[in-house]
């Protein structure tokens, strides 16, 4: 696991300054604290910061292949031993990097289909002056790029390294921010920054001698069963066990994140079986019992016999960690949920663990989220309103307001949030609820967004055949595309874990597990009576205590308003939300925000709508200050000696 970055110029003779590369490496040091390397030649410069997991002594980057091409690579290809055997011949290292490079040199990007893993890479072919950027299927690993004025291109795992290069200026892209406040994340290629693109999940970009010549996806999720009655490929028990086994391959100790729910408990159980060592499990615990799942976490840890660690999080920890999380996430947020995971990664690292497997992805693949149940009920409502309404009352048992008090208006909100024929039907309630943040825009900001409807862009990007998919299949695609990649795997995944040099691994996002899930009969995912994830529960019943296997889903949430108000609230919260600070950023309206603040200070803003608005506004202010403000921090250059230096420009190769 690593950070990667680089610059290629249209003019082969134009140098890439070592100092710029050192600043880019410095900005990505948290991703790869074990050392760094650089390569410079003919109008190109590449850097890598490394978190050593395979072949700790070898495997340094940039790596030069037998045909003279260069690779910087962030991530893991789990089936690299099998690929190495298939390729044959001698290898200088035992790292997966060398296997990927040799595959690329022999087969080009066709080889990507053979890779089982999570990765982002940049491959430089000097003879053709061709740069190929690639991102893994689900977008586990990030990759950003920016076109340079001279026709060149700069790329980096995180946008901050682009800014550190001195070649790309940080400025907000209101349309990207508007996507955060519509579907919870800016969707690639868009980012929250103007002029900074994200490579889409499963995407590749080829730049050749001065211009991008190809931008396409090499893999896309097909969530449709297509009416097929054929059995789903493979057996889940075998596939998932193998996905876990492959992901526990590391030359360093590994652990799992354990929420206490079905998915992470299942991964922990399989991990325990797959490893010879005592498995380490790590959990977030909350002071506030409404969010806390400690009893379940401890029950699973005891049953599996793991060495368990919990990080207890209260309002103060959330307030204290918030700014750092925004800086790592590089985007406005709508929830505080990434903050506890940031603290969890810190604790995991402090216990000497750098690789953790988690249950991420299961709810998208096996329709576990309440959103899938909502969608089913909203469809049912057309045929059988009474039954749909009765069943809806059983949803959201964890909300502060009990079902009997949420009552009929709540039902109407769901049942009137869009027509079943609308391709975005499943996401109507979320989009309607999230729109509260947009109501705080100052009129000029709202005006400048006219004509940039984020939902129109999403509709235009729906895959062919989408209209023929079932409402739940569409919901799954939309969850993968709008929530998983832009939010859960990024702000709440890669960024907060890599902030501490911890690598998350996601067995459910093994493409073979995905193919199995997509081909299951729908009732194996969401069955009669809204029983979710039958396919997973049947497996869990064999591996976990019965009450864990049968436990209803509890979404992961963290307090939103309480951390930022009251006697222990940090002073910067009110400072960032003052009229002067809001005017300086120019996105939110001070009078409206003042009204929200009155509600927050008096403890009246307790609903999730106002919580989302507060987190959205505050994170935008913090984000702008960190990256776009006049006082944005500088980017100190990496001063240590590189572990690799391939420097044709300076005549050095070592």
């Amino acid at each position: 696991m690593c950070g990667i970055a680089g610059i290629v110029r249209a003019d082969a003779d134009a140098p890439v300054a070592e100092e710029a590369l050192r600043r880019m490496a410095g900005a990505l040091r948290h991703r790869g604290p074990d050392g760094w390397g650089l390569a410079r030649e003919g109008g190109a410069g590449l850097v890598s910061t490394r978190l050593a997991i395979f072949d700790v002594p070898g495997g340094w980057q940039p790596m030069r292949g037998e045909r003279g091409t260069l690779l910087v690579y962030n991530g893991e290809v789990y089936n690299h031993p099998e690929l190495r055997r298939e390729l044959g011949g001698a290898f200088a290292t035992t790292s997966d990097t060398e296997v990927v490079l040799r595959l690329l040199e022999r087969e080009g990007v066709r080889a990507l289909d053979r890779l089982n893993g999570q990765f982002a890479l940049a491959w430089w072919e000097p003879a053709a002056r061709r740069l190929t950027l690639v991102r893994d299927r689900f977008g586990v690993r990030p990759l950003h790029w920016a076109a340079l004025p001279d026709g060149g291109i700069a790329f980096a795992s995180e946008a901050k390294a682009l800014f550190a290069s001195g070649e790309v200026a940080a400025a907000p892209d209101l349309a990207g921010i508007d996507e955060v406040f519509t579907t919870w994340g800016a969707r690639a290629p868009r980012s929250a920054f103007a002029g900074v693109a994200q490579l889409p999940p499963g995407g590749l970009l080829v730049w050749e001698d001065g211009e991008p010549v190809a931008q396409r996806t090499w893999w896309e999720p097909d969530c449709a069963r297509g009416g097929s009655a054929a059995p789903a490929p493979g057996d889940l028990a075998e596939l998932l066990a193998d996905a876990v086994r492959l992901r526990l391959r590391a030359d360093v100790p590994v652990g799992t994140y354990l929420s206490g729910g079905l998915d992470s408990s299942l991964i922990s159980a399989l991990a325990q079986r797959a490893t010879d060592h005592e498995l380490r499990t790590f959990s977030v615990a909350f002071h506030d019992a409404r969010y806390d799942e400690r009893p379940w976490q401890e029950r699973v840890a005891r049953a599996l016999g793991t060495r368990h660690h919990a990080v207890e999080v209260g309002p103060r920890e959330i307030a204290d960690g918030f700014r750092a999380v925004v800086a790592h996430a590089e985007t406005p947020l709508i929830r505080t949920a990434p903050v506890p995971l940031h603290l969890l990664a810190r604790a995991t690292r402090a216990h000497g663990i750098t690789v953790v497997a988690t249950g991420e992805g299961a709810d998208e693949l096996f329709w576990g989220y309440d959103l899938f149940k909502e969608t089913a009920l909203r469809e049912l409502h057309v045929r059988d309103p009474a039954r749909a309404e009765a069943l809806l009352d059983g949803l959201y048992p964890y909300l502060d307001v009990p079902a009997e008090r949420r009552g009929p208006a709540w039902r109407r909100f769901f049942f009137e949030a869009g027509a079943p024929g609308d391709p975005l039907f499943s996401h109507g309630p979320r989009i309607a609820a999230t729109a509260v943040v947009r109501a705080f825009y100052r009129p000029e900001a709202a005006q400048s967004l006219a004509g940039a409807d984020p939902l129109a862009r999403l509709r235009a990007d729906l895959p062919p055949g989408f209209a023929r998919w079932s409402a739940l299949e569409r919901a799954a695609w939309l969850e993968l595309t709008t929530l998983l990649a832009p939010n859960l795997l990024a702000a709440q995944g890669d960024r907060v874990a890599m902030a501490h040099g911890v690598e998350g691994r996601f067995p459910f996002l093994d493409h073979r597990v995905f193919a199995h899930a997509a081909a299951l009969p729908p009732e194996r995912k969401l069955g009669p009576g809204l029983r979710e994830k039958a396919e997973l529960r049947d497996l869990a019943a064999r591996l976990l205590p019965a009450e864990v296997a049968a436990r209803p889903k509890q979404p992961y949430r963290a307090p939103e308003v309480a951390p930022f108000f009251g006697p222990h609230a940090p002073a910067w919260v009110e400072e960032r939300l003052e009229a002067r600070a809001l005017d300086a950023v120019g996105i939110f309206d001070p009078a409206r925000v003042a009204g929200l603040l009155r509600r927050c200070r008096t403890g009246k803003a307790s609903g999730f709508r106002e919580g989302m608005a507060l987190v959205g506004i505050l994170s935008t202010q913090v984000w702008h200050e960190r990256f776009c403000g006049a006082g944005a921090a500088g980017w100190p250059a990496e001063r240590s000696q590189p572990r690799v230096r391939l420097d044709v420009a300076a005549g050095i190769t070592s």
């Binding site: 008090r405 009929p408 208006a409 409206r592 003042a594 009204g595 009155r598 009246k604």
Partner: protein, 89 residues
């Protein structure tokens, strides 16, 4: 048929709630008692959920699904009339 004295207090309280909970998002709107919330756009669909919840819990009224209409919840006037009619005496 004039509003009762109790009703005046009720009107002031309901107005104060609507202003505090919703109108801050619309600093330019001068809301009159007969103005329609949805028409003016001062309360969105989820806001409507909160409004109905508040009326239920504040005045101990069990609202039926069929009663959630603009006639009953659509303006300050409508709210006052609905609560007066329905709250336990």
């Amino acid at each position: 048929m004039g509003e009762t004295e109790v009703g005046t207090g009720l009107r002031a309280k309901l107005r104060a709630y609507v202003e505090e909970a919703f109108l801050y998002l619309h600093p330019d709107v001068e809301l009159r008692d007969e103005d329609q919330f949805l028409e003016l756009g001062v309360i969105d669909s989820l806001g409507f959920v909160e409004l109905v919840e508040e009326v239920q819990s504040r005045y101990g009224i069990a609202v039926d699904a069929l009663e959630i209409t603009e006639e009953n919840f659509g303006s300050i006037d409508a709210l006052v009339a609905f609560v007066e009619r329905r709250r336990p005496s």
